[in-house]
């Protein structure tokens, strides 16, 4: 399944809903989406990954790269992820310490920085 992306504003942040596979082929699409948002001045981003079916290290690289860019603007990147098999990827690569990971978009949007 391909990657699909949709964005919306919610509580002063931008929610990026990601569904499908984030891999070496589709990750550039996500990178461009995040870069566009940052350039448009949307520096508080919530990435809703509940619909992600596959995530590889290229996808992690794009998220980490996005986070770095956002931090240059004093922004924030929060993830919403509920699937154990995706959470495991963040755990074994040590990225649970890098990203705040939430169980719902509501708690991610409400979280203080």
């Amino acid at each position: 399944m391909d990657l699909s992306l949709s964005t919306r504003a919610e509580g002063g942040r931008t929610v990026v809903e990601v569904t499908g596979e984030i891999d070496v082929y589709t990750a550039p699409k996500l990178r461009e989406q995040i870069a566009e948002l940052v350039e448009a001045g949307r520096h508080d981003i919530v990435v809703d990954m509940r619909g992600v079916e596959f995530l590889d290290s290229t996808g992690l690289g794009v998220l980490v790269g996005g986070l770095k860019r956002i931090r240059q603007h004093d922004g924030s990147m929060r993830l919403v992820c509920t699937q154990e098999r995706i959470l495991k990827i963040f755990r074994i690569t040590g990225l649970t310490k890098v990203f705040p990971i939430h169980e719902s978009v509501a708690t991610a949007v409400a979280a203080g920085d």
Partner: protein, 148 residues
């Protein structure tokens, strides 16, 4: 005898095809859905590394996968980009050094993460590098399968 061989020019789109072939074979050998997920991830990362290497110095040579389902599943991922000869952990560092680093923003393949995923999900991982290229041999032995 190799059961199935897949080779592809080093383009990202083909990595998905490689994952599909690996999962199709694994399913046929009766591996459980949990193991299928591991295979999908590990084979994807191995192909990602091979692709990065190949694009850097041998962009017209294919990445080759040799599958064997005699006892469990063995997936042998090969790139022909020349490297220093080494095996095991040594080969891992040769490999890590050879895969091109992303410019500034680290938005390409994070080698550390790729290797972490491989180490976590392939119960057996053998790495060899030489001037003939890189070889990553991942196996999910039939024994490990029965234990899950």
């Amino acid at each position: 005898m190799a059961t199935v061989e897949l080779s592809f020019v080093p383009l990202p789109a083909h990595v998905r095809t490689a994952r599909q072939v690996a999962v199709a074979l694994a399913r046929r050998t009766g591996l459980t859905d949990d193991v299928l997920d591991e295979i999908r991830l590990a084979v994807g990362e191995a192909c990602g590394l091979a692709l990065s290497l190949q694009r850097q110095s041998r962009p017209y040579d294919p990445v080759v996968l040799v599958f064997d389902d005699d006892a469990g599943l063995t997936v042998d991922v090969r790139a022909s980009a020349p490297l220093d000869a080494a095996s095991g952990d040594h080969a891992l560092s040769v490999l890590a050094a050879a895969v091109p680093r992303p410019a500034v923003t680290a938005e390409e393949l994070p080698v550390g993460a790729a290797l972490a995923v491989l180490a976590e999900f392939a119960p057996r991982l053998e790495v060899t590098t030489s001037d003939a290229g890189m070889r990553l041999e991942l196996s999910w032995p039939a024994v490990a399968v029965a234990n899950r």
